[in-house]
Subunit: 366 residues, 2 copies
DNA sequence: AGGAACGTTGACAGCGCTACCAGCAACGAC
DNA sequence: GTCGTTGCTGGTAGCGCTGTCAACGTTCCT
């Protein structure tokens, strides 16, 4: 006909089939389930496709099959180092495979998350990775109803929607405080920013550990909803000092805050750990090279992302994991900044080469 | 017929059209070009769509129209803070619009980039954002031939494929060195990691500035192909010191390295800036709160991403920017770490509150 | 030998949308 | 009054692929 459509100039599956001398449907099967073909046809289709440089049309495939090969990922922030590590893991696991990653940023808003979820689900994704366990009721309902595998990442908790991978922020915070106790610190402040649900649970862990030791005092806690930053760490610490000048130690909800506290100490000529010990959270790379080196709670962010995507892909392809809830645990990496309190204001651990002693713990499920 | 297809249970455009009492094609037009409809039909289709909760099937749309609403983004790294800022800008600019972002990571390999480009182009993206100006010849040819708008980001150079937004890393490095000269520093080392093309151009800028002042010495340059980190900054600086113990200043190719150098100085009890001045690159947040505060070259990463995506979307929709090459420039943010050299080893600028003096420069095109 | 079971292949009919073109009314120009 | 011209609308025919089911040949069983 006189139709002058763009026609895309692309090689179609039918062309491949023709060159291979098979029907289009057989060629189609080659790309979806090669084992179903006889070896002879398989090789013929394979070489025909290679010869023509065939690239499947994903839109046509999605339209005909009623499903896409898109994995939706919902994370709260693109800036936060923590998520970039997780993302890297996700991208690494999906690379080379048939699934593509569709990323969206909820900006720490569960309402925004709900909106994005609705958007994603409408496109019938192959699978979904969502952050955390604090969805709205509506979001949860949509997730339950979704006919694709779902992985919740970053933390573990009761009632997984489907699969879950993370660790207990509560237990991790308790372990950090326990470490400070061991080192002889008693009056331990808490500094937190953003106060998203995971930071809140770290605070809860801190509070419970302090209460267990009958050392809790609300005045030791300084938090803000403001997004975290190094500068903010210094500012919050300043507030804390103004309120409680004689604290022993500070447990920071993340490493940026910890670095800010360290700088603020230096500015005020407060010896670390001699006068004040510092513990961070996440164990970002710089913690090991700061002066003094900074104690932190190591979390397996890259592995979390990678495993989440791997589990998800397996599940999409029908191989559900035996263990749908995976606790990746954490480790308290003990460094100079939290070493034992001594009256002369000098750390007991010294030198950059001092071994990083580790306390490894799987977080206990609750 | 007795076909028992999943049928997806979704509202189709035809249903919307029926409810609105128009033909499907008119309903289709409502979503693509509402102005083409009479006001009466427009409102009828609109309310019908809302009433039924219609969500367009993107696969069908892509198949029928031979184009997708996907913007492909190729960046070299997901870890690097610099790119997460750029990405945030890109996502922010695309949010709420019809285009979705498809991200891929080239891992600083132009071969990988070429492979990904081929993959992307096969899906007929609506537009493309690529990093830098150092594509393979093959990649460049594909980009030239692509029938979609393209923005190259992160730097500017001759021969844009299409649009381009960034700044001159060469000029920025020269400005940083010029600032150190002004402050009386002469024997200025260079520390660089990864050595991707942009870092290489920063090195080139440093070399040219040093040569102009007849101060260049190859022994002042320490680089490695290893990915950058704070720890690496300390290690490279250690190498530099071993080679040239009497340097005045260090220009670091990025802020992580600069922080590592600062920590190493502290470890070695080298006064900053008294004995050695430090200048970083990118002006990450922590630079302003370090002790001493660290001088850096501020680059507009978020804005770069946001503007790139905005320009791209405009171009996709037929409104090409008047200015296809945009130089976002840079600013040398002068802080304590680079203040004037004095014999007593103490900075002339002191106190955290000291104003950040800025030298703003659009990078000169070449 | 008959037939059930399996593995392999192909025909058909769309998936939900849009490109293209034709048609139709309203309007102004000649 | 006739002829464009413009603005809006609709019909037709796919886009490139896959789900479904039927059909075929082969092997294995009883």
């Amino acid at each position: 006909m006189g139709r002058k459509r763009t026609k895309s100039g692309k090689i179609r599956l039918a062309e491949v089939a023709e060159l291979a001398g098979v029907s289009p449907i057989t060629a189609s099967r080659f790309f979806r389930n090669p084992e179903a073909l006889s070896v002879a046809k398989r090789t013929r289709v394979e070489s025909a496709a290679k010869e023509l440089g065939y690239v499947p049309n994903l839109a046509a495939r999605a339209l005909a099959s009623h499903r896409t090969e898109v994995i939706g990922v919902l994370i709260p922030s693109l800036t936060n180092n923590v998520f970039s590590d997780v993302l890297r893991g996700i991208y690494d696991a999906s690379e080379g495979g048939r699934y593509s990653i569709q990323l969206s940023n909820t900006r720490y808003s569960i309402l925004q998350e709900e909106k994005l979820l609705r958007l994603f689900l409408a496109q019938k994704p192959a699978g979904l990775i969502v952050t955390g366990i604090d969805q709205t009721a509506e979001s949860r309902a949509m997730l339950q109803a979704a006919d694709c595998p779902i992985v919740q990442i970053m933390e573990i908790g009761p009632d997984p929607v489907d699969m879950m991978i993370g660790f207990s922020h509560y237990d991790a915070a308790r372990a950090a405080v326990a470490h400070l106790f061991e080192q002889g610190h008693r009056k331990i402040g808490f500094v937190g920013a953003r106060m998203d649900p995971r930071v809140q649970r770290r605070l809860d862990g801190y509070v419970s550990a302090m209460k267990d030791a009958a050392l809790f005092d609300q005045r030791l806690v300084v938090t803000t909803a403001t997004p975290t930053s190094v500068t903010l760490g210094g500012a919050l610490f300043t507030d804390l000092l103004a309120r409680e000048p004689d604290i022993d130690a500070v447990f920071c909800a993340n490493d940026d805050l910890a670095l800010g506290v360290l700088f603020e100490c230096r500015r005020r000529e407060i010896a670390v750990p001699g006068q004040i010990a510092i513990v961070g959270f996440n164990d970002l790379e710089f913690m090991a090279s700061a002066v003094p080196t900074l104690t932190s709670v190591r979390t397996n962010r890259y592995e979390m992302g990678k495993t989440a995507a791997t589990m998800l892909i397996e599940a999409i392809e029908g191989r559900r994991p035996e263990q749908p809830v995976l606790d990746l645990g954490f480790k308290v990496i003990e460094r100079q900044s939290s070493s034992a309190r001594r009256s002369d204001g000098r750390p007991t651990v010294s030198g950059a080469g001092a071994a990083n002693k580790m306390i490894a713990l799987p977080s206990s499920h609750d």
